[in-house]
């Protein structure tokens, strides 16, 4: 099969506040693939999500990330979004006073404009919104509320995937989307994500626990440890980690270092 790389990360080194967190990370994600990144706390999972989405304050110290042949790290956050990179936030931000409909319409139309598509008028936009909301079992009353304000934890996470459904990204990065979700909400969220999977896009699922991967089945699982991917495998690797934890890998790694 001919593989089309969406994202190629080479020797990525990055940090925040003068602390180096990613220490030479390599990862290639092709179209149609779902990758899971797992790792213990502090291994650099969220830093990877932040660096790929362009969060201010994170500093790239070396290496490259090429997205559809372009230098991803050189783009502004909004440019990345318009090019099809989507980050589902671990902690979605509440924005008091900014109406959800207004925000969603602005976002959708920015992305459409960038793709050379016509902007949606109010009626078409509402039709699209209502259709996508159903998939995530979101109440339409959310539309008239300020972005994320007063949303429950589950609503916030579902709202992230709802936005993903509206923006139809080429590369979706899900940063600990399972955290704080009960099993029903987890199913809804995972179902939403699965429906968005196509042969021409890809998903990078960052998670601490294997639980989410029962529902979003990855093609590849990578273990992130101290800023590098130390082990890659198929979906069975996640089960192994669930059973034995990260300790055997950590031990193996430190043996390597000592040797």
């Amino acid at each position: 099969m001919n593989k089309n790389p969406i994202l190629e990360i080479r020797n990525l080194q990055a940090g925040v506040e003068g602390r180096k967190i990613l220490k030479g990370l390599d990862l290639t994600i092709n179209a149609g693939e779902v990758h899971a990144i797992m790792g213990p706390n502090g291994s650099g999972k969220s830093t990877l999500a932040a660096v790929l989405s362009g969060k201010p304050g994170y500093e790239v110290l070396g290496g490259t990330a090429t997205y559809f042949g372009k230098d991803l790290l050189d783009m502004d956050p909004e440019e990345r979004a318009r090019e099809g990179v989507f980050l589902a936030f671990q902690y979605p931000v509440e924005i008091p006073g900014v109406n959800s409909t207004y925000f969603l319409k602005a976002a959708v139309n920015e992305v459409r404009k960038h793709r050379g598509e016509e902007e949606l008028d109010a009626i078409d936009f509402l039709k699209l919104v209502k259709e996508r909301m159903k998939v995530l079992h979101l109440d339409e009353s959310l539309l008239s509320r300020p972005v994320n304000e007063g949303f429950s934890g589950g609503e916030k996470k579902r709202n992230e995937i709802f936005q993903m459904a509206l923006l139809e990204p080429k590369l979706a990065i899900l940063d600990e989307t399972d955290s704080g979700l009960d099993i029903d909400a987890l199913r809804i969220v995972a179902n939403g994500v699965n429906k968005l999977k196509h042969s021409d896009n890809a998903q990078l699922v960052i998670t601490h626990y294997q639980r989410l991967l029962d529902y979003i089945v990855p093609d590849f699982v990578h273990v992130l440890l101290d800023g590098r991917i130390v082990k890659s495998g198929g979906k069975e690797l996640a089960l192994e980690l669930e059973k034995d934890g990260y300790d055997p890998i950590i031990e193996q790694e430190s043996n390597l270092v000592t040797a």
Binding site: S53, G54, K55, P56, D76, P77, E78, R80, A81, R82, F86, L87, F89, P92, V93, E94, I95, P96, G97, V98, Y102, F103, A106, A107, E110, V111, H114, P146, V147, Q163, L167
Partner: protein
């Protein structure tokens, strides 16, 4: 009335010119006025002479130095002979031709030619104070100068000394005036000082919406020094929008005094956009039980502007609510001042007073001095206050950008949201919309200036 103890004056500012102009005024125009009015003017000038212009040693004026006003050549607009303003010039200041009663004042004096009144219920009086002094003498005499204290505010004293004209609104009992009243105060000549004086009387169970609006038609310095007295009888409701959009070299020092009877409601909005130095004293006297009032305000200051709000909610009766929301947006080297006093007298049990003042600093050089001042003498009350000063939320900006919204657009959305909370409380839709677009234009302009 609350008396304010001033710190000892370190410096008495020059008032000779003001006193001299008053003597001329008294010998001239004022001479034809009824005796009771002349007495008020004399009392006004006496209190002004005694207090002089405040210095920053006065607690009430600590952050607002009025020296440039004291030094501004004093040319009071005492002669109502201003003409040459056309309807076309007024058009941009009519909230898109809003359907309303509109009284236009040129340098504080009523212009019948430019004013329009809609049909109105019997007994409703919407007109100018100069005429009402004669036509409604007893009612005007009963209220004029009786509520806005000139003993502790030299600018109210000066206004009272030169009181001549302004708006007179009287809504009889049980009349709910459907259309708002727009009072448009225009300054047409550089260098003038004008003293608009407004009296709004809402009788029992009546309701009215009034926009008190200040605009410069000249791009040069002038001084506007208005005073407004609002009297709400039992169960009456007054929504009052004070909109100050004068040019950025103007001086503006205003006072609004509301005196409320039981179960009445005053919704006071103060929107400050213009002037080089703008001070608003807004004072609600909650004199009967069951009052529900709102103090709502927005100041948008850029460049070298100074905008100062001093508010008072004086709870002098039980079971009253006063809810206060003031937001400031400051950029450039602008300065904001907010002082919110909540006074709960011993009798005022079951008071519910809330106050918030939030400030958004969009530049490194903008500053804000904010001070809540609670004086509570009753024991069964709910009083809360909070003040914040901050920048735009970087997390929120990143969140918006991560969805494809550009950096400037994201900033604008957040600033709009910040101001929107205040503007949304204005129920006069054309006014709210106009202010929304003014805000938008200003943000765009500042963005271009930054770029």
């Amino acid at each position: 009335m609350i008396t304010t103890s001033y710190a000892r004056r370190a410096e008495v500012r020059e008032t000779t010119a003001h006193l001299a102009r008053f003597e001329e005024f008294e010998r001239g125009v004022s001479g034809n006025s009824p005796a009771w009015l002349r007495a008020i003017r004399t009392a006004g000038i006496a209190h002004f002479a005694e207090q002089g212009f405040p210095t920053v040693q006065y607690e009430e004026w600590r952050f607002t130095n009025v020296a440039p006003i004291a030094a501004f050549p004093f040319k009071p607009a005492t002669h109502p002979q201003y003409e040459g303003v056309t309807e076309k010039e007024i058009e941009p200041h009519t909230f898109g031709g809003m359907n309303c009663h509109r009284l236009v004042f040129l340098n504080g004096h009523f212009s019948p030619k430019l004013s329009t009144l809609l049909p109105r219920p019997d007994g409703v009086k919407i007109g100018c104070l100069a005429a009402a002094i004669h036509s409604d003498g007893p009612l005007v005499e009963k209220h004029l100068g009786r509520h806005a204290s000139y003993t502790d505010n030299p600018f109210v004293a000066l206004n009272t000394a030169f009181v001549q004209d302004g708006a007179f609104v009287h809504i009889p009992a049980r009349v709910e005036l459907a259309e708002p009243i727009h009072l448009l105060f225009l300054t047409t000549e550089a260098g003038l000082t004008s003293f608009p004086r407004n009296l709004i009387i809402a009788d029992r169970s009546s309701s009215v919406k009034v926009i008190e609006d200040y605009v410069s038609l000249v791009p040069a310095p002038h001084f506007t020094c208005p005073t407004t007295e609002i009297i709400t009888a039992e169960n009456a409701c007054v929504e009052h929008v004070k909109l100050q959009r004068e040019n950025e070299s103007a001086f503006h020092v205003a006072a609004v005094q509301a005196v409320q009877a039981a179960d009445s409601r005053v919704i006071s909005h103060s929107i400050s956009l213009g002037a080089r130095l703008a001070r608003n004293n807004i004072h609600l006297a909650l004199n009967g039980p069951g009052i529900d009032s709102v103090l709502n305000g927005l100041y948008l200051a850029s460049g070298d502007q100074l905008m100062d709000h001093h508010t008072v909610a004086d709870h002098a009766s039980p079971r009253c609510n006063s809810h206060e929301f003031y937001h400031g947006i400051l950029s450039g080297k602008a300065r904001g001042v907010f002082n919110g006093k909540i006074f709960v007298r011993q009798i005022a049990q079951k008071t519910d007073a809330k106050q918030t003042n939030r400030n958004l600093l969009l530049s490194d050089l903008a500053t804000v001095d904010t001070k809540p001042q609670l004086e509570i003498f009753a024991d069964d009350v709910k009083c809360t206050h909070g003040a914040t000063i901050g920048q735009l939320d970087e997390q929120a900006i990143f969140y918006l950008r991560s969805r494809g919204i550009g950096h400037d657009e994201a900033r604008n959305m957040l600033v709009h949201a910040f101001a929107g909370g205040i503007l949304d409380r204005i129920t006069i839709e054309p006014v709210r919309q106009e202010l929304e677009s003014t805000l938008f234009e200003r943000l765009e302009r500042e963005q271009h200036a930054r770029a």
